[in-house]
Amino acid sequence: MAQAKEEHVAKLLRQGLELYGTGEIPRAFMLWNEALELDPGNEEALDYIRDADRRSLPRADRGDAPSASIVWDARRLVQGENEEAALELLVSAPNSVTLECESMVELLRAKIFRKYKNALGDLDKIPRVKEDAADLEGRNLPPSAGFLLSMVDGLTSLSDLVTVSGMDRFEALRSLHRMSEAGILELGT
């Protein structure tokens, strides 16, 4: 088992290097970060990330202490399985536009997206609004949630709602997931 994990980490590191060589830097960071998650503290992965971040960051605040500490804090949140908070921290922090941050954001979005999908189940399910208008208005929802709710008609599937909303897929699914968790929406067939 340990050997299989080791091999997988090595493969991720190698694939990351290949991507880095072809200029697909954010994807390379994604794989190295994934390797770090499987093997926290892996020196090779940390070296690649530090080195690449130093060399290829025209738009980054290199050597910026807040940026480095934000990444560190985000990693700790991920280790504590609080991925949403880690994402929130990375996207809302100023001076955080390093490639390492960017790749971590991408990785987290992909992971959280999968989590939402798993929680919601089959995206062909049809959402229905459970609460009446008066109860709904007492909640504190953003306009994007109100927009999605306005399209819930008992006929349109989750997948179609995400498509026709024109919203970023991640944002749309997050909003639907949160409303389902909060008991605003119920999912049926």
Binding site: P142, P143, S144, F147, S150, S157, T163, V164, G166
Partner: protein
């Protein structure tokens, strides 16, 4: 034997019908709707959407949602109608290689018959689901003023959808048919058609099974959506005044306002007051803002009064063109969902001095008429005789820029007519036949349907050769023209397909391209 469906291919919505057990029925789609938005869009993740789903992204993804392609079909790119559509449309319209307007969405360019074909294919699918059998043939309706090219393009759209179009019939004619009006002796009928995006008024004369369109008028940029737009503007202004927030730049809010306004407008045809509730329409540092507004029928009528009066100006013009007075009309037929509005019914009744004919759903009346015609085509025992007429005069361009009419407008079709022409120069060996359509005496002011050259004419002094030009118009209004040198017997002919139409090869390519995609429509 498979059944023939009738399709009302509308500017804003389409409707499919069939005759079952002697009764014409509108076929609902899987969502239960009897009409389907004539819209095609490509979502941001590349999915192809038709109908209600496409409509839902019409504002949030406006650049990639095509609507009202019927305004463009069969026209040239430089046509003023096309230029006006370009000004008003959020999606891109580009000049095609045939000098036709093409719609660019989702990074791909579509011809107008292709967009119409996608909508027709969806109507075919709706019918097939309902009938549990494959459908191959259809009757499709078009506006009475559609010229030959526009009719030919509509037939092409049918072919792209996998349908053989047995007959193209005029929309007002279909409306009259669904009332069974062709059997009631001589009558003059006004068909007032206020749809989602266009307004048409037609005056028909029925006599012994022949339906003649005496005159048509209207506005291709006026319809129910103007009513919705007035409500949206009213709500935006009210929200700005009460909450201090401007919703004009917020596409999500605009999409919700548009949907809610359309619904409120429909509800106000049955009720005196409606509540418009749009929770979480906006937010600021103090939290979410809701839009809650009571709209009365009276306020709606004040908002749109001038739009309704605008339609009556076209009605007046139509009566003048038909050479009749309003009181000469025997029946008034209302078509299009917007005619459910009490103010519209009241003003039309006041204008004609009689109540409009009731009994058929105005959204469905044209589609039902198409189904009646479809059933009649299949039934050899059916004694119903429907004869339509040419909407515009046909002829050829002659020396000096004149237009020589061979077939006058309102001639009953099918029809064949010929005339002898001659050369204008000594030893002229070829003549160019320019096929024109329109009511002007000048060629330049008429629509050019197509042109071809008859060569190999025997050398002779001018005025001596005899060239017989023959026109054939079939029951769909599709024109074929031939020219023959009577001395040599040399002949050239064309089925008119002017620059705006597609070649058979182009149509086949489009059909193959579309077979790859599964077009989606739900609810």
């Amino acid at each position: 034997m498979s059944r023939v469906i009738g399709i009302d291919l509308g500017t804003t919505n389409s409707c499919v019908s069939v005759v079952e057990n002697g009764q014409s029925t509108v076929i609902p789609n899987s969502g239960g709707y009897k009409t389907t938005p004539s819209m095609f869009g490509i979502s941001q993740d590349g999915r192809r959407l038709v109908g209600h789903l496409a409509k839902r992204q019409a504002i949030t993804n406006a650049r990639n949602t095509a609507f009202a392609a019927k305004r463009l079909i069969g026209r040239r790119f430089d046509d003023p109608e096309v230029q006006k559509t370009i000004e008003l449309s959020p999606y891109e319209i580009v000049r095609g290689p045939n000098d036709d307007p093409r719609i660019k969405i989702g990074g791909k360019t579509f011809t107008c018959p292709e967009i119409a074909g996608i909508v027709l294919r969806e109507m075919k699918r709706v019918a097939e689901e309902y009938l549990s059998e494959t459908v191959h043939e259809a009757v499709i309706t078009v506006p009475a003023y559609f010229n030959d090219t526009q009719r030919q393009c509509t037939k092409d759209a049918g072919k792209i959808a996998g349908l053989e179009v047995l007959r193209i019939i005029n929309e007002p004619t279909a409306a009259a048919l669904s009332y069974g009006m062709n059997r009631e002796g001589d009558e003059k009928i006004a068909v007032y058609d206020l749809g989602g995006g266009t307004f048409d008024i037609s005056i028909l004369e029925m006599s012994e099974g022949v339906i003649e369109v005496l005159a048509t008028s209207g506005n291709t940029f006026l319809g129910g959506e103007d009513f919705d737009r007035r409500i949206v503007q009213h709500l935006i202004k009210w929200f700005e005044e009460t909450e201090g927030m401007d919703l004009r730049g917020d596409t999500m809010a605009l999409q919700r306002l548009k949907d809610a306004s359309e619904k409120a407008k429909c509800d106000l045809s049955m009720r005196d007051v409606v509540e418009i509730n749009l929770p979480f329409i906006a937010s600021d540092s103090e939290g979410p803002r809701h839009l809650n507004y009571e709209l009365t029928r009276e306020s709606l009528e004040n908002l749109v009064h001038d739009v309704v009066e605008g339609t009556l100006k076209s009605v007046e013009q139509c009566c003048v063109d038909a050479g009749i007075q309003a009181q000469d009309i025997d029946q008034v037929v209302l078509v299009g969902g917007q005619t459910r509005m009490p103010l519209v019914q009241k003003r039309v009744a006041e204008y004609f001095g009689k109540r409009p004919h009731k009994g058929v759903n105005p959204d469905e009346v044209v589609g039902l008429g198409a189904a009646v015609q479809a059933a009649a085509l299949l039934d050899s025992d059916n004694d119903m005789l429907l004869l339509d007429v040419t909407p515009l005069s046909l002829g050829i361009g002659t020396y000096g820029g004149h237009f020589a009419r061979l077939i006058e407008r309102n001639t009953t079709v099918p029809v064949s007519k010929g005339h002898i022409f001659t050369t204008t120069r000594d030893n002229q060996s070829a003549v160019k036949i320019r096929v024109l359509q329109g009511e002007s005496d000048m060629a330049a002011e008429s629509d050019l349907l197509g042109e071809f050259v008859l060569s190999g004419i025997r050398p002779a002094p001018k005025g001596e050769p005899e060239i017989e030009v023959s026109f054939d118009i079939d029951a769909n209004g599709i024109v074929s023209v031939s020219a023959r040198d009577l001395a040599t017997g040399k002949e050239q002919s064309i089925t008119v397909s002017s620059t705006g139409t597609l070649s058979d090869t182009e149509i086949d390519e489009i059909i193959q391209a579309h077979d790859i995609y599964e077009v989606e429509l739900k609810g």
